[in-house]
Structures are given as C-alpha cells and as structure tokens.
Symmetry: C2
Subunit: 207 residues, 2 copies
Amino acid sequence: MRKVAESTIRRLSLYLRLLEEFEAQGIATVSSEALAGRGGTTSAQVRKDLSFFGSFGKRGLGYSVPELVTELRAILGLDRRYQVALIGAGKIGSALVQYRGFRQRGFDIVAIFDVDPAKIGREWNGLVVQDSAALETALAHEKIDMAVLVTPGEAAQPLADRLVALGVKAILNFAPVQLTVPHDVVVKTVNLALELETLSYELTNRG
Amino acid sequence: MRKVAESTIRRLSLYLRLLEEFEAQGIATVSSEALAGRGGTTSAQVRKDLSFFGSFGKRGLGYSVPELVTELRAILGLDRRYQVALIGAGKIGSALVQYRGFRQRGFDIVAIFDVDPAKIGREWNGLVVQDSAALETALAHEKIDMAVLVTPGEAAQPLADRLVALGVKAILNFAPVQLTVPHDVVVKTVNLALELETLSYELTNRG
DNA sequence: CTAGCTTTGTGAATCATTTCACAAAGCCGT
DNA sequence: ACGGCTTTGTGAAATGATTCACAAAGCTAG
Ligand SMILES: NC(=O)c1ccc[n+]([C@@H]2O[C@H](COP(=O)([O-])OP(=O)(O)OC[C@H]3O[C@@H](n4cnc5c(N)ncnc54)[C@H](O)[C@@H]3O)[C@@H](O)[C@H]2O)c1
Ligand SMILES: NC(=O)c1ccc[n+]([C@@H]2O[C@H](COP(=O)([O-])OP(=O)(O)OC[C@H]3O[C@@H](n4cnc5c(N)ncnc54)[C@H](O)[C@@H]3O)[C@@H](O)[C@H]2O)c1
C-alpha cells in the first residue's frame, strides 16, 4: 500500500469530517457524488481516492456512512489515541492546549514545556508547564507519539533534534523554519505567514 | 502570466524568507543550489520556479540577494500593505492579533469583531473589539483587503457570505469547514486537525 | 425473474509538475 | 584576451495526479 499522494490523504481526512456530520444527522448511505459536492471535488476523485485502499461501496447504492467512517478512521490511523507533547507555552501554544477539537479526534496533549522561568511551574489546563531543559528526563518514561513545536524559529531545529533523539517520529511545526530530520521522522510545518502570502499573490495576480 | 502552480508560489514565499535571512547576514549573492539546500528542494526546481516570472540571475554567479528579494516581493504582492479584519476574538484570534510577524510582513489587523457581549468593547492590542452584527456599518468606510475567520465552524459560512457582499476578495479561514465563495474570491483554509491526521496516517503507514 | 435505473471501481487518457541535461553566459586568474 | 570553471535558463523527458468513460454490480418495481 505504498505511495499514496498526500493530496489523497488530505481529502480522505476531509471526507471523514463530512461523513461524521452525515452520521450525526442519521444519514445511512452516501454516494460519491454527495461526498464530492460538499468536499469541493468530483465523484471520480472520491472513488479514486478510496480505491487506493479497497472497495467500500455498493454499486447502485453508495457507501454505508458508519462503515466508511470506520474504514477511514482505520486508514488514517485514527482508531487509536496519540500522546502529544507541546513545546512552547506561548500564544499559539495556549490556543492549542485549550482547544477541545484535538482531544475529540484522539490527540491528547500530555506534557508542556517552555524555557521561560515565568512560565515553568504554571498550570495549563491541568498540566504543569515543565522546564524544556529537562525534556529528556521528563519524557524518559512517557511514551510520546507526536510533538507540536510552537517556539520561536531559532529554537525549533535544536528542539527537533532533541525530540528525534528521544524517539519522536512525528512533529507538527509552527515555527517559520524548514526543519531537517531523519527520513523516518515526519514533519508537517504550518506556516501562517506563507498562507497570507499566497492570498496576497492571488489578490495581485487575479482579482 | 497565468497558470502558475500554487506549489510554485508557496516555494517562492519560502525562498523569500531564506533570502531575507541571507540579507540580514550580509550575504550578497546566492546560487540556486544554496537556496534549494535550505529550502528542501532542488536547484532545478528553484530555477524553474523563478523562470515563470523572468530571469533574475547571472550565469556563473547566482542571484543578487537584495535584487531577488525585491523581485519576489513584487511577484508575491508584498510591496504594499494589506488591511486585515479579524472575525472572532477567541483563542486563536488572540494569538494572531498579538503576533508581530504579520505586521512585519505587511499585514495590518485594523478591525476585530465578535458576537460575544463579554468581548465586545474590550481593547485588544490597541483595537476595540466590535460587534459582528455591525460588520457592514463598521466596514462601510474602511477598505478591507483580507479577512481572517476564527469563529466556530457553523458561523464561518454566513460570515464569509457577508464579507463577500462587502467586497472582501481574500479570506484566511481557520474554521474546519469548506467555504463556498464566488470564484473571484480566494479562500485559504488552515485546518490544523487535518495536519495532525496526515501525521497520524504517516505514522501508521510508514515508520 | 427480468428490465431498468443507479452508482461503483478502475484502466486509459489527459493534464500538471518535477527532474534532467545541456547550451549559453559570465567571472576569474593568468 | 583566453581557457577553465561555475551556474543560469529552459526545452524535452519523466513522473505524478486528475479526469474520463464504461463495464460490472446491485437494487427496486412489476
Ligand atoms: N502567534 C501567532 O499568531 C503566530 C502566527 C504565525 C506563526 N507563529 C509562530 O509560532 C511560533 C510561536 O509563536 P507564539 O506567538 O506562540 O510565540 P510566543 O513568543 O508567544 O511563544 C513562544 C514560546 O516558546 C518559548 N520558548 C522559547 N525557546 C524555547 C525552548 N528552547 N524550549 C521551550 N520553549 C521555548 C518561549 O518562552 C515562549 O513561551 C513562532 O515561531 C511564531 O513565529 C505564531
Ligand atoms: N484553538 C485552536 O487551537 C484551534 C485549532 C484548530 C482549529 N481551530 C478552529 O478555529 C476556530 C476558532 O477557534 P478558537 O479556539 O479561537 O475558538 P474560540 O471559541 O476561542 O473563539 C471563537 C470566537 O468566535 C466568536 N464568534 C462566534 N460566532 C461569531 C460570529 N457570528 N461573529 C463573530 N464572532 C463570533 C466567539 O464569540 C468566540 O469569541 C474554530 O473554528 C476552531 O475549530 C482552533
């Protein structure tokens, strides 16, 4: 099951959200057409995306909503929970810690770190902010699946190196830097300034 | 100059950030190889990306850092400032308003709106939070280039419709919904849960 | 049980993006 | 001023993603 495009995975994630809405509304089956309409693609795209992983529909009828939800959760690895460490108790970190959406979808923030003495020891959402100097000892006996990096740019790469050394295999990075990691570690960078800049480009070149 | 891939634009934005770092370090010229190395691509990709917009380098030498910075700013539409309205004075909104990076790159938040009476009238970073019911009157005489939507999902589409009616042509959306807008309006959605889910997929299918 | 209708699953075709590879240009040292 | 070295700019080739189009499958009504 190698080599599925990232764009496909992102759409599967989108379909899952739509399916969960349908499920909440008690809708039992859905066609690729209906999924596509709400998701901003075409029905052929939906079917092709799913076909990489199996055939989940019934011809003439469509897809069973609860069944497809289960399948997509399994494909995306969302049929388990993840232990997440947050590094950087700043403004963005604060918003993330308080956001319930993550826990709802299986991501539990279980540790928070910062260097700022004014922040270390404070309680955030039931967790004590720990000294990031003690990252290694604090995470020695806690299994961390993912780390979220929300520190200033210059701190991000050194922290990424330490997280990798600790065995963390997935990092979500908000610092506006390109992280270098071994190829068995996966990094996703969310670069908000870059998003604004693509808007800016579109505004000046279309519009 | 139609039809440049979005992936190209995103890389240009990345190159610009790297070039600004080089500029701060007093580096005068840079090769496509050097830009690629730090930006996670190949030198051929860098040259191809730039070639869509002109030829900015000197063969045998590379690119003048300050010159290319100027060119990229012009291409991306960053040689001007943008007036941005923030809709939703919540947790993410708070982080965005306090973030200096946006102002530094030419994006000025000039108005903030919310529905919550507890938030309306409060001062945020020198701006008074306004009632979003009065969006139309408040923005009647203020030219808004972009809106940032940081409300709950269910409020996002109605607000997008009102912003579009007000002539806003670019929206950065943080709500986990797919917005529908006329095709002369450009929307970028930042879906953090989706980023975590692509990490989750990679973890379960590689690693 | 059959005819008609609907919708899937998927090769083949199209369209888009990236990589290759090399001639053309410019610099530097002699 | 020339030869050697470096690096750009860009068609052509390769790779990757999306769209097309249709046979196969299943459901429903009669
Ligand atoms: N706030 C925003 O809206 C926004 C938008 C786009 C990008 N970003 C990026 O996100 C990152 C965080 O932004 P923020 O606004 O939350 O910044 P912030 O300054 O509020 O928070 C950063 C936190 O990281 C901590 N820190 C610094 N070095 C550390 C280390 N070595 N180990 C652990 N913690 C450390 C600081 O003490 C601080 O608490 C930055 O890279 C910023 O560029 C933020
Ligand atoms: N906080 C996070 O880390 C995070 C992460 C991912 C996604 N999001 C998404 O970002 C959005 C905002 O998240 P948040 O954590 O800041 O939520 P929040 O609840 O803290 O803030 C939302 C704000 O929007 C306001 N609001 C509601 N309806 C409005 C309307 N019609 N007009 C104007 N304002 C209105 C609310 O009063 C509130 O102040 C949500 O859609 C959320 O799903 C947040």
